[in-house]
Structures are given as C-alpha cells and as structure tokens.
C-alpha cells in the first residue's frame, strides 16, 4: 500500500491502524492522529454566519510529493516502521474526517514524535486550502500563526534518532 493518499473518499481508521502493525513483529507502538471538521470552529466566523460545510482545494501532484517528502524527513529523524498519511479533498461536512496520520515504531517515543511532526509539517508545507461555506457565500480560511510556531519548534530537534 502507498504511504500517502490524497482522496475524496472517507477512510476507515480502524483498518488503517491495524494495517500499520499487522504481521510486523517489531511494531510495538502505533501513534495516530485524526483531524475532523469542527462545527464549533466553523461557528467562530463572523457573527450570524453559520458555516455549513468546508471545501478543501489542493495542488494535485505537488500535494502527494510534499506529503511524501515530509514522511522521508520523519524517517530520517526517527526510527520508524510503517507510516500512513491520508488527506481528503473536496467538500466535507462538520464532523467528517479530514486527515489521518499513523506511525508505527518499535518504541512509543519515536511513534509519537514522528506523528506530531508529520502533522505540524503537513499544516505548513502541504498545499491544501480550506474554504468555508456560509449562507452569504464562501470564505477562505486564514493560516494560523500557531501552526508556523508548531512547525518551527522541530527545527531545534534537527536529527539524532532516539534510542
């Protein structure tokens, strides 16, 4: 199976996590993350504008290579076994899954760090853009400064695989 998928379809979290360790005698730790469309976040918009859906645009081709590059960098930093990244595109409703990142490793420290690293880099390096739907029309989501901060903190952890 490919490590990286960009797709409109939903994914099965249980199946994905199972596949990260199935048949791998050394996979003692699987860390994973699921990101969902928040309904309350949507409601944080301009007063009176209930947001009913979100559409994810992306840059076909670059998206996949950007995600694959982030996984390569994670493998350079930590001792990983299987890794899986899925990002959906197209129109999504509140509560729907957007993104899955799963990392298997021998030890939990590497699995946790790599999983969070991949999410932080995905947020700032992978070419996806969210547009919210409101009764008055669409609204592009602004990038968050906190995402840049989250990604930058890994620059201080440049390499050196954990033992």
């Amino acid at each position: 199976m490919s490590e990286v998928s960009v797709q409109t379809a939903d994914f099965d979290v249980g199946v994905e996590i199972e596949a990260l360790s199935s048949g791998d005698v050394g996979a003692g730790a699987v860390a994973s993350f699921v990101g969902l469309v928040r309904a309350d976040k949507l409601a944080e918009g301009q007063a009176g504008e209930g947001v009913t859906a979100m559409t994810l645009e992306h840059y076909p081709g670059m998206t996949e290579s950007a995600l694959a590059g982030i996984v390569v960098e994670a493998r350079r930093r930590w001792d990983l076994r299987r890794v899986r990244v899925i990002h959906r595109v197209g129109r999504l409703l509140p509560g729907e899954r957007i993104v899955f990142v799963g990392v298997a490793s021998s030890h939990r420290g590497d699995a946790f760090a790599a999983c969070e690293f991949i999410m932080d880099y995905l947020k700032t390096q992978a070419p996806f853009w969210k547009k919210e739907e409101t009764p008055d029309g669409g609204r592009w989501v602004d990038a968050r400064e906190s995402d840049d901060v989250a990604a930058r903190r890994w620059e201080a952890v440049p390499g050196g695989k954990a033992t």
């Binding site: 994810l56 670059m62 700032t124 390096q125 992978a126 990038a143």
Partner: protein, 81 residues
C-alpha cells in the same frame, strides 16, 4: 522564455485564472521578478500578503530561479490538516 503558471485558492479566485502559459521577456530570472511581471495584469499578485510560491512543485522563496519550461505556482499560506 515560456512558463506555465498556476494559481490556487483565494488567489486563483482573485486572478480569475487557474493556469496560464506565459511568454516572458528577457530579464526575468526569479520567482519574485515573475510575480512583479505578472502583477501588471493580475493586481492580486501585487496586493496579496504572504504569498507563497512553488517551482516544479517544490516550495521555494521569491529569490528562487525560474527557467524555460518550469511550472510555477503562486498561492496563499496553506491551511490543510
């Protein structure tokens, strides 16, 4: 020099074009110079804040070189995940 230029998300909507093939005059060697050149016909390229760019599907700074046949993309900061 001939290039393919792509626009995404809010910038795509402001420019009104998602992709175009451009024949460049001499003297345009970087992403920043290309942006300035294209800004004459697409005002949003001049006014957009924090505009990001990619050359051949790799994110680059505005001082990155552009060459014949490159695919250059301009877009706002990404908001996936």
């Amino acid at each position: 020099m001939s290039l393919k230029v792509l626009y995404f998300a809010g910038l795509r909507e402001a420019v009104g074009v998602s992709a175009e093939n451009i024949d460049l005059p001499a003297g345009i060697a970087t992403v920043g110079e290309l942006r300035k050149f294209l800004g004459v016909r697409h005002e949003a390229l001049t006014t957009a804040k924090n505009l990001r760019a990619a050359v051949n599907q790799k994110m680059v700074g505005h001082d990155a070189p552009v060459a014949e046949g490159d695919e250059v993309a301009f877009f706002p900061p990404v908001t996936g995940g």
